[in-house]
Symmetry: C2
Subunit: 203 residues, 2 copies
């Protein structure tokens, strides 16, 4: 509302309520899920009175949507802008996630909220499409025959790795990376011949 939203001038414990609320959301929604996190607990962790929370957000739904909007998928957004990598390397770097990743809140939100009309669900959809588009752009840059298709395929691999990691409680991104290598090398005409490709497939 005011232009003083970010960076509480003096964080005398009290002034930066909105940011503290969103910080607590990030922590609790990841640790416990959205539905299992009550507003009471959230406010307690954020060290914010409940009244204040409801002055910043009309309801929990709006808070959830904003939480997703604010979520910075540091891996992806960072990878796409790295100029030290070739486009092909960037496509593969997407699967090189640190093991401490909290795991795709967009999928979690869509499943937990269970309502495609929910603002957060809509945003999750938009975000997923945006990632696929970014991947397609990079694929095009890398000279892929059908960039849109490759982008969609790689996006599917990311989601598959995320979902499988969650269910199995074991990192599935290496498997996804292996598949990605095959797809990329098949889609991009490189100097590498069929022999090398076949070797990478077998690995």
């Amino acid at each position: 509302m005011t232009e003083l939203e970010k960076g509480p001038t003096g964080s005398r414990r009290g002034r930066g309520a909105r940011e503290r609320i969103l910080g607590a959301s990030r922590q609790l929604f990841r640790e416990q899920g959205i539905n299992r996190t009550g507003m009471d607990q959230l406010c307690a962790v954020a060290e914010v009175s409940k009244r204040t929370a409801y002055q910043h957000f009309t309801g929990k739904d709006e808070l959830v949507a904003e939480y997703l909007r604010r979520f910075d998928p540091s891996v992806l957004s960072g990878v796409f802008d790295r100029t030290d990598l070739t486009p092909r390397e960037r496509l593969l770097a997407v699967f090189d996630i640190p093991p401490t990743t909290p795991l795709c809140p967009y999928i979690a939100a869509a499943v937990e909220l269970h309502d495609p009309q929910h603002p957060a669900s809509q945003y999750a959809r938009d975000y997923k499409k945006a990632v696929a588009a970014r991947l397609a752009d990079t694929a095009r840059e890398a000279g892929a025959a059908d960039p849109e298709q490759l982008g969609e395929q790689l996006a599917l691999l990311i989601d598959g790795a995320a979902a499988r990691t969650r269910v199995l409680d074991a990192n599935a991104f290496p498997t996804a990376a292996a598949v990605a290598t095959v797809l990329i090398d098949n889609a991009i005409p490189t100097a590498a011949g069929d022999d090398q490709r076949r070797e990478e497939v077998a690995r």
Copy 2:
């Protein structure tokens, strides 16, 4: 408890409570999710008194676990046993799901329950591993170079398609099938030469 659990002799409307409860679970957990389905509503749909429900299941948790155990993923279990298909065709048929599929309750349960220790979460893990193993068996039968790896990769594609279909509200299985084709043809030494393979990739 008794040996009369399945097949109510006379379904005079009243006797087969347990089956009706599980039937209602299948319907409601899919339509609304687990957390958004209360025991009151579930009992109403099942036409069962709440007291009866709690005599069959010690709590909702146990009901959820049993719901997952009973879930018949008709597509997968059917596909693996089809003798009219070659192993390779069976691996691809997995992605040929009817559009009316309710979409992987195992992933949904793992996300909704948000507790890896929950019986249902543990079963989901077991099930996913079993599917990967079945895929690996079929891959071995088809003569794949590294059946375990191919099985794990195909399993990841299935989960990716399921998750992505849920989030985007659009069928992602065709994309997964396209990737599967590439993987399978790369992993299985067939009479088909590299030229044909390259064509399939471009499609």
